[in-house]
Subunit: 679 residues, 2 copies
Amino acid sequence: MQKHTGICIIVSILLSMSIVNGDQQTTLNLMPIPAEIVLKDGIFRLDESFTLKIDDPADSRLYQAATGMLRRLAGRTGYFMPQDYITAESNLENPQIIVKTSRIGELKLFEDESYSLTITDKQITLIAETDIGALRGFETFLQLLSVDQNGYYFPNCVINDKPRFPWRGLMIDASRHFMPVDVIKRNLDGMAAVKLNVFHWHLADDQGFRVECKTWPKLHELGSDGFYYTQDQIKEIIAYAADRGIRVIPEFDIPAHATSWLVAYPELGSAPGPYSMERGWGIKDPTMNPVNEFTYAFLDEFFSEMAALFPDDYMHIGGDENNGKHWDANPEIQQFMKDNDIPDKHMLQAYFNKRILKILAKYNKKMIGWDEIFQPGLPTDIVIHSWRGQKSLIESAQKGYMGILSNGYYIDLIQTAQYHYLNDPIPEDTPLSAEEQKQILGGEATSWGELVTYETVDSRIWPRTAAIAERFWSPRSVKNVDDMYRRLEVTSFHLEELGLLHLKNYDMMLRRLTKDHDISSLKTFADVVEPVKIYTRHHQGKKYMSYSPYTRVVDAARTESMTARHFSKLVDQYIADPKNPDAAELILQLSVWQENHRQLVEIIKVSPVLKEIESMSADLEALANLGLEAAKALAKNKKLKKNVVDASVVLFENAAKPRGQVELMIVPSIRKLVSAASN
Amino acid sequence: MQKHTGICIIVSILLSMSIVNGDQQTTLNLMPIPAEIVLKDGIFRLDESFTLKIDDPADSRLYQAATGMLRRLAGRTGYFMPQDYITAESNLENPQIIVKTSRIGELKLFEDESYSLTITDKQITLIAETDIGALRGFETFLQLLSVDQNGYYFPNCVINDKPRFPWRGLMIDASRHFMPVDVIKRNLDGMAAVKLNVFHWHLADDQGFRVECKTWPKLHELGSDGFYYTQDQIKEIIAYAADRGIRVIPEFDIPAHATSWLVAYPELGSAPGPYSMERGWGIKDPTMNPVNEFTYAFLDEFFSEMAALFPDDYMHIGGDENNGKHWDANPEIQQFMKDNDIPDKHMLQAYFNKRILKILAKYNKKMIGWDEIFQPGLPTDIVIHSWRGQKSLIESAQKGYMGILSNGYYIDLIQTAQYHYLNDPIPEDTPLSAEEQKQILGGEATSWGELVTYETVDSRIWPRTAAIAERFWSPRSVKNVDDMYRRLEVTSFHLEELGLLHLKNYDMMLRRLTKDHDISSLKTFADVVEPVKIYTRHHQGKKYMSYSPYTRVVDAARTESMTARHFSKLVDQYIADPKNPDAAELILQLSVWQENHRQLVEIIKVSPVLKEIESMSADLEALANLGLEAAKALAKNKKLKKNVVDASVVLFENAAKPRGQVELMIVPSIRKLVSAASN
């Protein structure tokens, strides 16, 4: 089953490896792919006597992770294994897996996360410099679990693994839509499973200030609609992340994106106020006043508190998208700029940032911020977070600044896993020298929160973020897209055992949309649509607000139609050879689509929320009819009739139009079929 | 679609009602059924202008609930309605629904939860004595949402509703398997949706002490394996419950069921110790020492802290299943009994309870405990929680004690919704006088935690607990089982919007069991099996421990096979008339089963965890073959051949045998078919 693709990509990295080991054939589903793996003959057969031992030094993190690993192994196999909680007291005579670490890892940039995993017939060893490395090794180990008719096994192998980049992040925006503690926790589990190590928590924006603040309590009291994390919850999440070897970096976006702060403390604002909570999306005017000493006194106390709450060395100050309108309109600010020879809003923001930098330094924090914070004269231990792209990243690296990339990893924009996967923080043609390249620390996938809720956020993050995680961890040469998609599906499945809802909420949302009728016809339809891309969704007749329903077909639809992707491959094969072995599958698929509308229309009658996609469902039927005609023509080596081809023009045009903010993803493939059958 | 059944049951309670109101036909899916409902002609048509207004007095609970209600309405309909957060400042000219309450309700026994809901073409009013009553009304209102080809509407009606019993509880055991905060929260949402009002939290037992305790910190430090609720989390959950009009009653089970306490403080025990954490199930020996003054000093401080943490008037002290072994073995205890004329362990426990009662009284708490706490001479404001049954409940009521019933509501025992539904706290033939009946406060469904994890607990609680909730809320005369099942399915579907996993984890678990292959054949099989009942699961070759995998077919299987239930109806109809309109459905169902094993066996090959049900899957095929033969014979009005009937005896015997701790639920129906075709 596609074994060879899986093997090829590994061969491309490795020197020595066997595909067939003993009687077993092994399909590796590792994601991210390790830096180095050598498969050996033979297997380690798993049975119910399986036990694990951890050598000193270790702390509760490693014991917990080992226990969790055993539970997941038991969960998958149904095996009743003998160990309960692994602790320092777990003394064993003959453990089948031995874990050895040299020291307890620290949650800081550049910490060692390497590990070596050796599997032989009788013994497994996992050796790592730090316990964090051992955690990464556990995930690889679980991904190696294989099956044959005799049961479960691990293929004999030697893996030496370490990350390509030290900063491998996921940002979750908890401001636009609040994300409860359990959402964050299960996503931290997902991150750990694919070896991500930085959770960037976007905690304050126009639409909500989400942290309990003791020095300035009106921030959460008036700026959150009651939806905020208590400091105890923050600590709980930081501890949860730490147990998974993940750093937590909070973002307090200033001076713009600050409406929620100004609702609470209008005296911080550049305009007189009062301010009211922002419920809409887009770049807003409210901005902190950079010439008022109160602003700095306020932020000094604020960051003093937050620096103690969040233990990481870095503090993200946002700094993006200041439209400057309230600065322009404030005579005091304008006068200050004149008096101080500040030529424009960018230099005024640089002034603001320098003041903030001093405050952060006072509390032993290093600054990270979006592109806009980059100005000459800043200390070189700041990190530039590039949302604008390679150009700014390269520029700052050349000037000696560290940077991470998020441009190309905006997972809220509903682009393909392939698109993100092939986006490299340091592309092959980088103009940076080897030394300069070291300034590029990695990147972050960013889950902006305008259009997601706790119900849908998992499906927007996963599984695509696993492909991004591989980009950050694995060697640059790992970039076989088809194999990535094969492994991504397996990874997506395994992520589900961690409680992530990305798979199961699909059916749940379809059930709600059908009012609990048979979802099969809606699923057939939803399987071939995707939400409209980039920011298009805001410009198709619906005005989205924070309190709008995010429960429609566009929200249920997956970010990437694997059905359409697969179908496009079937079409290519069919055009190349209508007698290819998968030709029947293409015909069957078209036949299913041809019949679907008749069933779906009955569901729409009892569920008006589906009316908005009715005409698109009819288009799917029409496209299927046309596709079948084209396929028949190709099979008979005949040309499609001219009137059919002519009529298809209008159909293609209509079918390509989004409705309900979703797009029908098979239009290009049918067009290809028709085009092939026309020549 | 079964409208008439739905209507009948309401007619049985009401005097005046219309089935057809205007052009609309209305199927009511209310659960629990209100005390009084009168349907009227006409409808209130829902559109995107829908707004709500709350009259004073109100507090954040009512505003939050109203906001949540609007969000759920928007979620179901996809309507972009204009209101964001409902607050005291939400002033509206022409709100379409007006909510009026007289006072803010208190979370205490006997609080008023009644409400009146009136829906007319243009206006909806919800009037309640307390805001808690209004919350109950919101749930009814959402359940009334209906649909026709023109969109969404509410049927005109007048509902006057109030609960039959003031104590309507769900107990969740968080000791045997720890249940994280999000599990508790989503189950509180489920409780609110079906108007339950007491969350009984089983927090300490042999296998875990789950509360952070500041006076005796080793309790959670050594007695929980690290899995406990912090006091902040406890407060968070109490507040969450309060926002839903739900009381929270903690249970600290003493003097038995106390291993985890004794691990931390062995000096509390009746045996010398040391004790180690209990990982197995059943009645265990470790018991607190009732003759040691340290025990009472300890518990005095303990309850002082817990009484402050948990605001409810009642404190549950468990008190059950003390096997007395450690008391018998302790000479000091035996001497004490002699010295004080205490004849047996029951009277010794009565002595212990009286001491505890004094402590609770000191901290203004009333005592509730299981049957065993009932002894003459206790004050009459204690509540007896009956797990033993009607007899003890009646006895205590007759003696002037208040009681609640859990016998018959043990939802961990995998019995049918029907069984629980027909179990009445005050059956029609009760020997209690009207006055004595007032002592019966209601009941609680109990979700004991041995065999459930955070993955499966929702599916063990829901939807069956909704049927129990109806038993506690609706008039006793509401007991049409078929209509209950019809409404239970709709209720189950609606519970899903609250984040409950009872439906979606079914597919998730089947995916894991198939190693992400097509789940359809496994689902066809799993749809007709149920876990073995009562405590049988512990006696079929597997020794279950707290850390065993609870991820096998028996865990995925639903507590009640609706497919088997439906099939048994098809069989009855078929036997009565082989030409009945649903006969084809029966044949089709049998044909599906006939084909299923061939597919499932291929999945089993790649997923050894399924091997344990392979022979049962083969039995399903054999039963289907036999059923089809019997059906054909009946259709032709012929007798089954004697050799077929003879052979069926062995098949039935084998097929009825549990494997993998599941039972095949269609055996009796096939037997019935064969029997009918043999005569």
